[in-house]
Symmetry: C2
Subunit: 366 residues, 2 copies
């Protein structure tokens, strides 16, 4: 076996989803990971995708997902398939001893989630979900501010909103044509697709401490297939902290996370995907005060800029590759943090869904 | 009687609350309204207030509220007393045939609210609550945009947050020393003081159509006196529109109203009291789109500026004075819009409180 530093993680991709184009581009930016195989149910589609996205000439292009998993030159797979197909292919990947980077939301239920992560864990394989924003250096910078009590005080509440108008992006029949509108493919709808990020951002800000009570908001909307297209929920922690989120396919873009502390507020207007790739911003507000007779107020807003040489998806892939490399070379073990944070996020989504199905009853977590 | 144009409405004020200083300053800017009397439980306090705030030399200063109401030279009163004292003094004002401009929240219960507004109505007197922002020309400008379907599409959801750290403004013992922490004075706490504006903003954006379901968020916080110091709720309309608001005395200032439509978003970061007195802004977002491979997105933000010659509280007083003048001169009648919007706002607050008291049960409006 070659020395650790020269090991390159060999990646396979299952499917030609549009998000895979972004991942391919990111892989090509990284020396530590190499794209060696791509599979699609249609060989022609895979070949066209490979050509259009500049796959390396020696990358193998298959007309099935199984061939990618059977390929012994593949160390790890990226799975951007619809959620409804995850269990089947992740269990197969575990059987074939491939590490897995899985698009979100990972599952429709916690049972599925546990099946997948425990299968990988038993084989000593790394699991990571495809949540990119936590890998951006902006997140690390914000985390330092949030957890500096002198600066921020106590985090008291969080508001997350991720809305985007699917009709604008995919046309008026998106609900039939896009996987996000189909119960067997993306059964959690806007809750899984957009709410996932809100919940992940909320848990991230609270260092992944779980809430003890969750309540869905009234007014959940469904499409004709019964898939959630607009929803929201409020979470409560034992010490009185709260977080509220909204996730809708029906409005103009809103992608905001606001973390409200006793002495300061962090406000991120593009928390999931920064508007620009090379520099991301966030606002820090502190020390607002009423002016004379409350006829106005001082708003002290500092705009922080955080540059990044690599886009956040490349930083995610680099983190994944380093863990896989460690396992391959015997110097590391699967990092349990990644399945853990993924399971916590998934658990909240499923509890919100449960509350929706029970007329917005509060659900207490055991 | 003098001709209508030369009639000046003669205002009395009950109490020396700090908000009264702002109103006095506004009255002094307006030719159509004249401050003729001020009463406080302490004559010395009233005299000191009169001197400090430049009351006209001929304004009468009384050591009781009753003397203001008994003064036949007073046409209308502004009542900035704590909510718990409103019913008593508004009923007396109605008896003494004074028009009433009442600080918010008007009441602790809908019964109180109805008592006050019907007493005034029976006497042919105008009622208006002290919500200033709706009188700012910015609100009229935003209303035009919101209700232009070509520009905005359908309003789908609203998010209102009004938080302010009372400890920063009034010190660590605010909960004992400030009226907002005391059950008999401001019994609705942050729900009445801050949530009032969120609910008013939400109803305003929806042209005062009432929701059909209201649910309080879990995690309501109370002070030692049992007064709400942090809360939130979500409202649902029959056609699936929703609105979520938060109101807390425990965080750094947030004063945001976001109205989310299918094609556009209005975002107002200082909706209750504009940061600056002479010019207020709001943001209009439209036509956001993902860039290639969703590696970023275009955010199209237009910042609108709306200038005003008079501060919003003076515009409120002018509107009130014009109505009172019409009634006095016999050319107008009490405008029922103002008690109506006030009652609707109050009703929502009381339903939110009911939901809080019933473990966040959804309350359906009859």
């Amino acid at each position: 076996m070659s020395s650790e530093t020269s090991v390159t993680v060999r990646l396979g991709i299952l499917g030609c989803a549009s998000i895979a184009e972004k991942i391919v581009r990111a892989v090509l930016l990284l020396p530590e990971i190499r794209l060696v195989a791509l599979g699609s149910r249609s060989l022609a589609k895979a070949q066209e995708f490979a050509k259009r996205n500049g796959l390396p000439a020696d990358a193998k292009v298959y007309g099935s997902y199984d061939e990618v998993l059977d390929d012994t030159s593949v160390d790890a797979v990226y799975i951007p398939l619809p959620t409804g197909l995850h269990v089947h292919w992740v269990l197969k990947a575990a059987e074939k001893k491939k590490h897995v980077l899985l698009e979100k939301p990972p599952a429709h239920t916690m049972e599925e989630m546990e099946l997948m992560t425990s299968a990988l864990e038993k084989q000593g394989l790394q699991f990571m979900d495809g949540t990119m924003f936590v890998h951006h250096p902006r997140s690390a910078e914000m985390h330092r501010i949030l957890h500096n009590p002198q600066l921020f005080g106590t985090i008291r509440e969080i508001s997350g909103i991720f809305n985007t108008n699917m009709e604008s992006t995919f046309g008026p029949t998106w609900s039939q044509s896009n996987v996000r509108g189909q119960a067997h493919l993306d059964g959690l709808g806007s809750l899984g697709d957009l709410g996932w990020y809100c919940v992940r951002g909320i848990l991230w800000a609270f260092d992944f401490e779980m809430p003890y009570k969750v309540i869905a908001h009234p007014g959940t909307r469904f499409n004709d297939a019964g898939v959630i297209i607009s929803c929201g929920a409020t979470l409560e922690w034992k010490d009185g902290r709260t977080a509220t989120f909204r996730a809708s396919f029906l409005t103009e873009m809103v992608m905001r996370l606001m973390v409200m502390g006793s002495w300061a507020v962090l406000d991120i207007g593009d928390f999931v995907i920064p508007v620009k790739e090379d520099v991301a911003t966030f606002q820090f507000n502190q020390g607002s005060a009423w002016v004379d007779r409350s006829t106005g107020w001082t708003r002290n807003t500092l705009v922080h800029e955080v540059k990044t040489e690599l886009p956040q998806e490349a930083l995610m892939l680099r983190e994944f590759a380093q863990l896989v490399k460690g396992i391959i070379t015997g110097t590391g073990k699967p990092n349990p943090i990644w399945p853990s944070v993924s399971k916590k996020t998934q658990a909240i989504l499923n509890i919100v869904k449960e509350s929706i199905e029970h007329d917005c009853s509060p659900i207490t977590l055991s």
